[in-house]
Structures are given as C-alpha cells and as structure tokens.
Symmetry: C2
Amino acid sequence: MSDATLPAVSPLPARPRILLGPGPSELEPRAAAALASPAIGYLDPALLAVLDETRELLRRVWATSNALTGPLWCTGTGGMEACLANLVEPGERIVVGVHGLFGGRIAEGARRLGGEVTTVESAWGTPLDVAALTEAIRHARPALVALVHAETSTGVLMSPEEMTAIGAAARDAGALLVADCVTSLGGVAVSPDAWPADACFSAGQKSLSGPTGVATVTFSERAEAKQSGRRAPPPTFNFDIALIENYWTQRAYHHTCSSNLLLALREAARVALEEGLEARFARHRANAAALAAGLEALGLELLVTPSHRLPMLTAVKVPTGVDAASIRSALLEADGIEIGVGFGPLAGKIWRIGLMGRSSRIGNVVALMAAFGARLAAAGHRCSTEEAVAAAREA
Amino acid sequence: MSDATLPAVSPLPARPRILLGPGPSELEPRAAAALASPAIGYLDPALLAVLDETRELLRRVWATSNALTGPLWCTGTGGMEACLANLVEPGERIVVGVHGLFGGRIAEGARRLGGEVTTVESAWGTPLDVAALTEAIRHARPALVALVHAETSTGVLMSPEEMTAIGAAARDAGALLVADCVTSLGGVAVSPDAWPADACFSAGQKSLSGPTGVATVTFSERAEAKQSGRRAPPPTFNFDIALIENYWTQRAYHHTCSSNLLLALREAARVALEEGLEARFARHRANAAALAAGLEALGLELLVTPSHRLPMLTAVKVPTGVDAASIRSALLEADGIEIGVGFGPLAGKIWRIGLMGRSSRIGNVVALMAAFGARLAAAGHRCSTEEAVAAAREA
C-alpha cells in the first residue's frame, strides 16, 4: 500500500491555541517534553521508581495521607467510574448532590451500577443546598454520598465549610463520601482528609496542566475496607482498585503502566509543587478576579454569586441578541482562543471561560478581553474593549 | 513549599531500553514527537478532523469496514472491558476459550458483568481446541463467544482457518464473537469482517508501536444492534460505546479526547500503513524466524509448535538449572535489554521475547543473541553466542 492511498494529513493550527475553555488547559512544557520520552516497561525498576515518586507527589497535591493514591490511564470520566464502580454495590442507597452536568453524571453512573439513587438538586449555577443534602442523608441513611466539588459545567465551587458539613453528615450516617475534584485539584484547596471524603478523582488536563488521558484518584482506608468487603467483586476488572494497588505496591501485573503519561504527570505535579500550592491557588484567584473585572467592564453578568465562584472556570451570561456559538467559533477560528459554551439548561445562555493551571495568566486574560470585546461589539453588544483590558489589569 | 522538600527525581536510564518484552515496544519517533504537541480542545474543528482521519486509518489497520471503529483512552485492559461491558448482559451464557492469562481475564471480566461463563481450556502454550470450542458453542448456544487471537502470555497465534471456524460456529449459534487482538493488530493479519468477529480490541504500545494509554476497538453492526437493544444500559458510563460514538460522529460531549494520544496514534497508524500491512507482517515473520533460529542455536527449546507461533512474541523454555528472573534482571539492568518472564503455570519456565512493531529489527535480534548467550553461559548453560548470532543472521 503506498502513501498516496492514505487519507490526507489533517493539519494542526499553525499557532497553538490559547486554551481558555473547560479543559484541556495549556500543557506544561516540561510535561510535553516528558511525553516524548522513550517507552519503559511496566516492571522496569527505573519506571517503578518514577511510579512511587509520582504517587508521593500526588499525595502532596491531594494534601492527603491516603496510601491508596495514584494515577489511572483514563480521562476524568474514567476516574469517576473508578470511584463509583469500586464503592457502589447493587441495591445500596446512594445520595447524590446534583447542581450541574457532572453531578448528573455521578447519579447516572451510580444508577448503572445498581445503586438506588436519590438526587438532591439545585439550580445550575447555584451551590448545592447543604441543609437539603444533609437532611436527605439523615433520612436515607445511604451507603454512599457523592457530589461535585467544582462544577465545571457552571463554575460553582463548594466552600470548605460546606464540604465539611456534608462530610460530617455522611460520616454520621455511616456513609462514604465521593467528591469530583476534576477541575479543583491543583487550582484551589482540596481536603480529602479534612472534609472528609473517602474517594476523590481528578484529571491531568485541567488545573494541573498535564496531558489528557491520565486521571488520579485517592481512596481513604474506609473506602479500601468497603471495597475489600464487597459481596461480589466490582463489575469492572479494568478499574478494580485492589488489583491496581496490587500493581502499585506488589508489582503484580494488572495493566501496562503508561510510561509516557506517567513521566508527564510527574512533571505536572512537580511544577505545581515547585510553585507551591498556596501560591498557585492565589494565582488562580487573582487571575479569576481580573477576568471577572474585565467581563463586567464589558457589560456582562457573571452566572455565579461571588462566594461560590470557581477561580478556574468563570461562567458569564450571553447578552440578549448575541449567539453564543458564533462568538465561540469566531474566537477559536479567527483569534485562536478557545472558550466553552453551556450545557443543558444553560445551553446558549452562558460562555464558560477557563483559567486553569498554566492557562491562568494575566496575559491570557488581556488577550481574551481584546478579542472577546471586539467580537461582542461586532455582534451588536455595546462595550469598550479598552475599558475591559484596563479593568482586568487593575483588578 | 520549596523544591528542596520534594522527593528526589528518579532518573531514567541513560540509554533507552531495547524493548523486547511483552510490550511496550519501542515508540515510533514520529509518534513520540506527536505526543509533545500543544494540546487542542475536544471540540476544536482541527482536532475533530484528526479524529476522523485517525478513525479511517484505524479501519485500514483493522482491515474492516466497521463504522464503529476508533480510539479509547485506556490500556488494552480497558479495551477488553469496553467490548465486554457493552455486549454482556447479566444472566447471559458466554463461552470463552482460555489458553493463557488473557483468555482467563476475559472469562473473569465476563463473570464480573454477570455472564454465565463456560470456559473451554487448553494447556498454556497450545492453541485452543477448535472442535471442543465449537462443540461447547453448539451445546451452550451462548449470547457471546470470546477468545484471544494472539496470546501474549504464551506466544500462541490462532490460525486464520481456526478463527474462521470459530466465527462460523458463533454465527450459527446466533452468538457474537469477541476477539482479543492486543498483540496481533499491526503485526499479523486480523480479519474482523472475515472471521467474523463482532468486537475486537487492541492497544497502542504493542505491534503498532504507539503510546501506552490508548486502545482501539472495532464493533460490527450486529454488535451495535446488540448494545442498543440491551435490557438496561451497560454498567459502565465511561466505556458506553453508544455515548462514545455520539462524540465521534455527533460531537456530543462524553469525555475529553486526548489530543496528545490521538496525534501519536495517528502517526503510529500512518507509519504502519506507509510500510504496508503485508510488508509489515512479512518483516515480523522474518525477524521471528531469525530469533527462533538464534534461540535454537543457543540450545534452547521454543514453547509453541511452529504452526501456531506468534511472530511478535516468542516463548522460549528456561533450561534446567537456570533462574529465569536473574537472567531477565541482568539483561535489563546491565545490558539495557528488556525481555519478559512467564505467568501462572509457566512462571519460571519460560522467557517471553517480543519483536513488536518498531522493535522487530534484525539488529535487535542480534543484540539479544549476544547478550543473552553471554548471560546464559555465565549461568552455566553451555552455548555459543557466535553460533546464535550467525544462525539469526542466516535465517
């Protein structure tokens, strides 16, 4: 077969995109370089040392003492499944807080696994109602409670106090708590040990600015005990966390460890820890404040109340008469800047602007203000790009 | 937190390993370079074009007309799960041919999903007994039959005639057929349409010499119909192939497409097709023949009968008095060459030598003969390295 018969090579953009959507964020250059490393076998002592080191780095990024912490070779969706499929048993009562797309996915995932799911819903764009959720937990006395710490579909972050209240209610009811930290890990404080949450999951390409295709999970000892005491093995062989741990600690074959993704994740985790988590969180907050100021100077309204805004993902309302998708397309294809649109009840009503990990830079905020202001003005929205840039710079 | 408090960076080997184990194989340089590309969003038209192109390339590599063919962000184990979790329904009868570790895993995976599994076992190192398997299919009239095309744990390849006989028996019984092609895809002919098999899975890092962390699957129309007609959705949200297809074709969000892994897989697939599949298969056969000749010149015995040898993975018996693991370690750590050892009933009894994808080169065979012969001689096995090198070169 000659080359001439193959499909044409689809070209990549001439310039890298400015990634200000819901993820991926801009890949850390050290992580990108590590991705291109020569492959190494899954039992090579050199690889196993990197695995151990990376698991220790991840414990620090997660701020946890959980032994069962490490990388999985999947997206964040797979991380969710790893938590649910190990911890949900058929017929068990599950309470899920739902205030956006990803809470709905947890409920769907738990139902598929045979859980008897009760959802406690709040409007998209608002935080979960802690009183309603704790009441549902007291009433249902579920085996497991789950919620989304940082809702990427709306830009809502649950506060530390709310997480602790929900964690206490779950613990009082004898339930495990699962938290979706896909967008929060590496951008704001996560506290699995303090909330406490028994299983948390995140992904490489959000606030860690690592590659897509690697997730990370952390399981408490209570979660480990629940998994090992299941009536039947989990339906998943691929995500069976006991078999995965057996590879991590006993080097017993379960899957082929991806040396390329592992080396990249190590770099992303090191970069985050070298910056310092507190400094990193402060950077995300500062750039989110600049973005908010700029958007408001453009005459736009933010979706989420200030107390619950997720610094890594800002939802901004689409003004009357403007087509959300057209602005998104123009920004992407003409300006090389990616932002996201809304899902479900927010489709057509919001844009979602990410400032995650390496993408969280004032230069990106300014570049977006200039391009976004121009696109909005062209679409008939009265605004001053200069004022927006100035507001962002001064915030 | 300062850098000084972080764990020390575990160094990589100074020279890349010569990867002659059960996988990963040596990463194609074009795939390695593509891994380091800037990230691209999962709805970016530039990425979607690459996705479409890669799915077409994969159809050619799979030699199939199946529309439902594409990449998954997981290892080969995840590819197995994607096939089983979509197609097995609780209580259904499943017949699995087991002649090594990976057949056993399919049986285990199907049981976890609620299948009533009957195994038809053959000794590790021998092919499946087609008469026994077809008889079991006629007797059980299962919903699904599964087997391993290329058993990486033993180096046994099922022949085209055997695959066709099993495929016909499954079709006659109204059963779907699932085939594990993890090591075969890209190294020997696979024929999903001709066998016929309704779902096949493979992985990036074997005979395609792409990265680890990407799998590929292909589903027939019959498999699609079975999945869409399930009594209940599959227990897996992550691997629900209908939702994944919805992203592939309708661009509806299900997971974040890994642009880095996708670009690397595209390169690996293009490299395979540029070489030409027939030429690639011939190269694998020729280098396997050289390896066999060299090993026999070292006075070693191959595990598998010539008619069923897998060109990409050669199992060779450990001579009396020699410790398999010590030889493997010395080759890896002193010579920089990775080979594998045996699992289960073959633990301590065989080495597994891979010549997969880019690793399948005569220079690698010769390098292995020189190092392996020296290690064996040092362990007390009488052999001539020079004769082995000459035999490999002349084969």
